[in-house]
């Protein structure tokens, strides 16, 4: 575990220069949304920036050509990958905490309701799943090629969002009544669905770590 923390600290030292700019841009962006009245958009963008923050160590590692250094440290490859995942978990915790505090406040002053909380939670979970999918891609292909391949990851949900309704309408299974029923189902089982989503998140996270580890273990630098 010590080495995992050492790798995590090394990541932080490596990104400390660039993170200033990365933090400033989303902070201004989200603040603008919130002050203009679109709190909802501001909070969801904060989750979106998780995907960007998650890639900073990869781009810093690539820019600084320090991959060899990572492999030279006296730690196991599993610890090296563990350090990077610890970074992801840490920034996720920070962003979830910020979003959580704002949502709790808005909920108490009744500007937010159950529906918004559920949607925002799913938004956060989806962002983290996207990060988990990206990590093995960046380990395998590096930052440059990885970016191009990651576009496919972003396209997949877009394809589902736009393709699914037309598919359902064409197949004759879609109706407003069914849609409302589905929403009611979500509302009445929100806790169970959130738990299921969290379970899926853990499984995806673990698989992402395992795949990343295998990629790094067999990687030649």
């Amino acid at each position: 575990m010590n080495n995992v923390i050492s790798y995590f600290k090394f990541d932080l030292r490596l990104i400390k220069e660039s993170i200033k700019f990365y933090v400033l841009a989303p902070a201004v962006f989200c603040a603008l949304f919130m002050f203009s009245g679109s709190i909802y958009m501001g909070l969801s963008y904060l989750f979106f920036f998780l995907i960007i923050f998650a890639t900073i160590p990869f781009s810093a590692q690539s820019n600084e050509k320090s991959t060899q250094m990572y492999y030279m440290f006296p730690g196991k490859v599993s610890e090296m990958v563990g350090g990077r995942f610890l970074y992801l978990i840490s920034i996720t915790a920070v962003l979830f905490l910020i979003d959580g505090i704002i949502m709790a406040y808005l909920y108490t002053i009744q500007k937010f309701h159950g529906f918004e909380v559920i949607v925002m939670s799913f938004c956060g979970i989806l962002s983290l799943i996207t990060c988990f999918i990206q990590y093995p891609i960046y380990y395998k292909f590096g930052m440059e090629k990885g970016k191009a391949i990651s576009i496919l990851v972003y396209l997949l949900p877009a394809f589902l969002i736009f393709g699914l309704p037309s598919f359902l309408i064409e197949s004759g299974n879609f109706s407003i009544e069914n849609f409302i029923n589905s929403l009611n189902y979500i509302f009445s089982n929100s806790i169970e669905l959130l738990l299921l989503a969290a379970l899926i998140l853990c499984i995806v996270g673990y698989l992402s770590y395992l795949i990343s580890y295998k990629i790094c273990k067999s990687k030649e630098i």
Binding site: R13, E17, M69, F73, E220
Partner: protein, 285 residues
């Protein structure tokens, strides 16, 4: 137990192979790993560090293979290349913090001693360092912790003679206790003659020779003579030669001395000449 044992390692690349490389480096000695650019020197070092995976063969450092104890294996190695491997956005403060995190044996006072001695700036980022400073930093970081085997991949190329000489002295001090060893890859052969105990010459991924430096220097002779003396018989015995309208110069094994006319000039070759004539001979064949 040897510091480094390499047995029949093989690795295939597109257009280049490492073929059956074997050698041993005993404790307390320096091995010079020599060859032209692209001969396979860096590839061998990367294989030792497990940065590239061998297809077959065995690599042991102080009796330990990489897979037996990944972290322990890496901890024994101190690597210095011709480029700085520390992130260029780091200052010495970051280097110290990183070294402390990863190496329990890291001695900060010793590191600071080297930093003072070589006048490395604390506040500047590594990207502002000169090439010489970067190499000194690499040496300072490696020498201020407990390593057992130094792997040096042309660290002195591009350095001025004063720093090179200082580094050679450091290497001799490093092995002085008889428990540590150095593999020194370079094509600056004058450095090798001064400090190496063993030499391994690699060309196109294959071993050309491997012996003690003393044996290698003593088992070769430099022959000089007129062009009329370069008979077919002599040409066959020469490892390599170059000729002009005035005369010739070639390298011959000491055991073939009897084939040389008495009036030909014989000299002790330098390491540079041995290497040049070996490559010359291989090109002719």
């Amino acid at each position: 137990m040897d510091a480094l044992e390499i047995k029949n390692i093989n690795k295939t690349f597109e257009g280049f192979n490492i073929q059956n490389i074997s050698f041993n480096l005993p404790k307390g000695y320096i091995l010079g790993y020599i060859g032209q650019n692209g001969a396979g020197k860096t590839t061998t070092i990367k294989l030792i560090m497990n940065h590239i995976k061998k297809e077959s063969g065995e690599i042991k450092i102080f009796g330990k293979e990489y897979d037996e104890d990944e972290a322990g294996y890496k901890n024994m190695i101190g690597f210095i290349g011709d480029e700085c491997y520390f992130p260029t956005c780091f200052t010495l403060k970051d280097v110290i913090a990183t070294m402390k995190d990863f190496y329990t044996s890291f001695n900060e006072d010793k590191f600071r001693e080297y930093v003072e001695r070589w006048q490395l700036p604390y506040k500047k980022k590594i990207k502002e360092f000169s090439k010489g400073m970067k190499v000194k930093l690499a040496f300072a970081s490696v020498l201020s912790r407990d390593t057992k085997l130094l792997l040096l991949d042309e660290p002195t190329s591009g350095l001025d003679p004063v720093i090179r000489s200082e580094i050679l002295e450091i290497l001799q001090d490093y092995i002085a206790n008889g428990e540590r060893s150095v593999l020194f890859s370079t094509h600056i052969t004058s450095d090798l003659e001064k400090i190496t105990d063993y030499l391994f010459f690699i060309n196109k991924g294959e071993k050309v020779f491997y012996d003690t430096t003393e044996n290698i220097l003593e088992s070769h002779l430099l022959v000089k003579g007129g062009i009329e003396d370069l008979t077919k018989e002599l040409r066959e015995k020469l490892i390599g030669y170059k000729s002009s309208s005035y005369g010739f110069e070639g390298l011959i094994s000491s055991k073939d001395k009897q084939y040389i006319n008495e009036h030909l000039l014989l000299e002790k070759p330098s390491m540079d000449e041995i290497i040049v004539f070996y490559i010359n001979g291989m090109r002719r064949n």
